[in-house]
Chain length 244, copies 4
């Protein structure tokens, strides 16, 4: 069983003046939890900004295999301590999937160490997303490319460390390109960033996007989990070389 | 002084039925040698498929800091021994810049170890090339993006090992994307691949492309050059640990 | 079922004057095939230099999930065409594990593109191998380090492209260090190199080494397999875009 | 002129009970500033924990090409805002060299995103440091290896993202290995970590260590410097494309 925690700031969807409230009345996390919850090997929980401690405790993270993170306007409302806890859980082995505007979320930025900046535009551009690594587990069943009728445009340069693998690269009618799907190892954990998914488009209802997220969950599940990877143990020499 | 050897198969340009003969009457190598030759810190030579041994000997390579390679229909006419000599020179420290269809040249394929495959189409698509690594020496003076009115379209997946740095990513009106400028370390040598430059377009007369190639030459010049990096020396222990 | 092909040049072990003949009377491949064969999810075949075509055909490779390669004095006796077939099978998705002196085997060198050189010494040095990536699937169950009472010493610099992951780093009583376990993606295939295993030591009978090889087999099994990754397809535009 | 800022917490050296006070009476920064200051192309300043704002302001960082950082017991005394300013300066293009126990300094940890943990022991072990990347600018003039009669032992696993290049790997008489010299690109800046240099050993007076630090300063100087890489600009489409 893969235990997934879907975290969403859940702000836009509660704003009746925002289109997001029509598309995702129960929140982006609701839609993601729903399609993942149908899988036999996955157990889903959700948490949002309004929950106490953002719905995140060390106990919950210890009991989570893969966290999925969506955030945008509420990035700064996530306390540093919570972001540090998520980062540390990843370093100890928890998988993490960051969606769309989560490129500027605290946990993602802490894990990357870089600006995570990009250029953007809301202009209903069509996006065609190409598979650059056809053998990557996250790309299985996706095909050579897929299209999103409209989503927010993100553009290079994307301020990230060189990805371990560039799984997807996006093309937009506005003329931009973007590394839309990238992976990194961080400590014992695996990290995946996926670009599509602005709150005013029904991107997370798209079966291809759902397939990518499902693939990513299975790919990111921990191989090994340490207790306290932040420690620096003072260890005696096993046997000094000159004693041989 | 950076000693550059511009290698070109020089086939299309001699074919009077090919548009390349009008654009590059003295060969692609001629145009590249000309603009590089204007630089005070660069000394240029050229070589082509018709020269004896393809114009390549160990002595010439030992006296070359950076090789630039353009090839297409004549890849298989380059003897394996010549390709191996070029590869070995790179591993010993020589820089190498592979242009456009040289992605399937023997020296590039030997250095990458992968298929170097891609999809392609000759359809006069416009290309917009984005700078993905603004701080890379090769991207200096290029700006956020530049455009080529028409060139051959190359598409992902590009069968390369994950680049050390993805300097440029291309966008085409036909809907493709491509990692258009990539770098790799190979042994003591630096390798740069640049995608634009089909023989039927005046790409190498474009000042932006010329600036990129010039930047790449300066970036790729050797830091250190070994004599025989292919050797596996049998070396005595400096001092066995138990002797301390 | 993971179909494994254990390839061994099988030269030293047939030489009655060589210690290898006592340690591995049925060949290094025999010992490896034996311990892998005990696993329920693995099906093993072997092939050697004496077999017709080195025991390798396209059909056999198409039916192989992971190849394991041991070679030393017979590297040059493997025909280039066979080495190319193995390389291409990896690029299409087959996993490959290269053991010890196979660092200079044709298939490994073709996949790396580099010298694959190192320094070496046969002097019965003790080796301590450290786990540098505790969460890597290949390191599971190995612990912080393990020791080999004696094996051939390999030393840096190791002429490889920067590994995707450095799983193990070795320490020797003679004062050398070596990146003893490294991984790379090559095309659709996964590659692992493991340093221990000189023919005159019973290294492949060591349970820790066997565990590493078993882990590597399971890690390297194909996710996706293409038919002909060497192709460069000429593809029409899905849908042309026109700049407004 | 390369403007270098040598930052040192300067705690141990002021403690008369600590050996560091004898070896570095004017601080580790004093010794580093002295040998760097002899170079014609380098201009050095220093700053310490006791200075106002740790001696660091945005103006000073804007006027710094390369920062060198030594810290140990005082890591937590560096305010988060100062660490964030240093990180941001690196992302904008400033080079950064982290020495020894600075692996757990706030700026380094922020740039890596990982635990930066390791094992350690103070036991006067001899260290032999091997050059793993002989062509790297930082390794020029260092030779195959060098030795330190005694320094603190650091051991793998080192909790870092896979380095862009592993320049040095260390061997210790106590049986440990460590990736002693590693590089990473972070945003527009270059980062180098160097392991030797415990405060109770005269490591920074060693000419080989000085040569490495000097090489690193020249290697890390900025190629390109941005004003505000943390920004995410909302940019209009240059020219919209319409699918036909």
């Amino acid at each position: 069983m893969i235990k997934v925690l879907v975290w969403n700031e859940f702000m836009h969807e509660k704003d009746k003046n925002c289109k997001a409230s029509e598309i995702y009345p129960d929140g982006i996390h609701g839609v993601i939890a729903e399609f993942l919850g149908k899988e036999d090997d996955i157990e889903v929980r959700t948490a949002t900004l309004d929950d106490e401690n953002c719905g995140i405790t060390k106990e919950i993270l210890d009991d989570t295999d893969v966290i999925i993170w969506w955030g945008h306007c509420g990035h700064s409302r996530v306390p540093d301590e919570i972001a540090a806890m998520v980062q540390e859980a990843v370093l100890n082995g928890m998988g993490a999937i960051f969606l769309h505007s989560a490129h500027k979320s605290k946990p993602f930025m802490r894990l990357m160490g870089t600006s995570c900046s990009l250029t953007w535009r809301e202009s209903d551009d069509m996006e065609r997303v190409w598979t650059a690594s056809p053998a990557h587990p996250i790309a299985q069943g996706i095909g050579r490319y897929f299209e999103l009728e409209a989503d927010e445009t993100y553009g290079e340069p994307f301020g990230i460390p060189s990805p371990d693998e560039t799984v997807f690269i996006g093309w937009y009618t506005g003329g931009e390109v973007f590394r839309s799907g990238c992976t990194w190892s961080r400590g014992n954990g695996k990290v995946f960033y996926l670009q599509p998914g602005h709150e005013t488009y029904p991107t997370y209802k798209n079966p291809v996007i759902q397939k990518i997220i499902l693939n990513a969950v299975r790919w990111a599940k921990p191989v090994f989990r340490s207790e306290n990877c932040m420690d620096c143990p003072n260890l005696p020499s096993v046997q000094r070389a000159e004693l041989l």
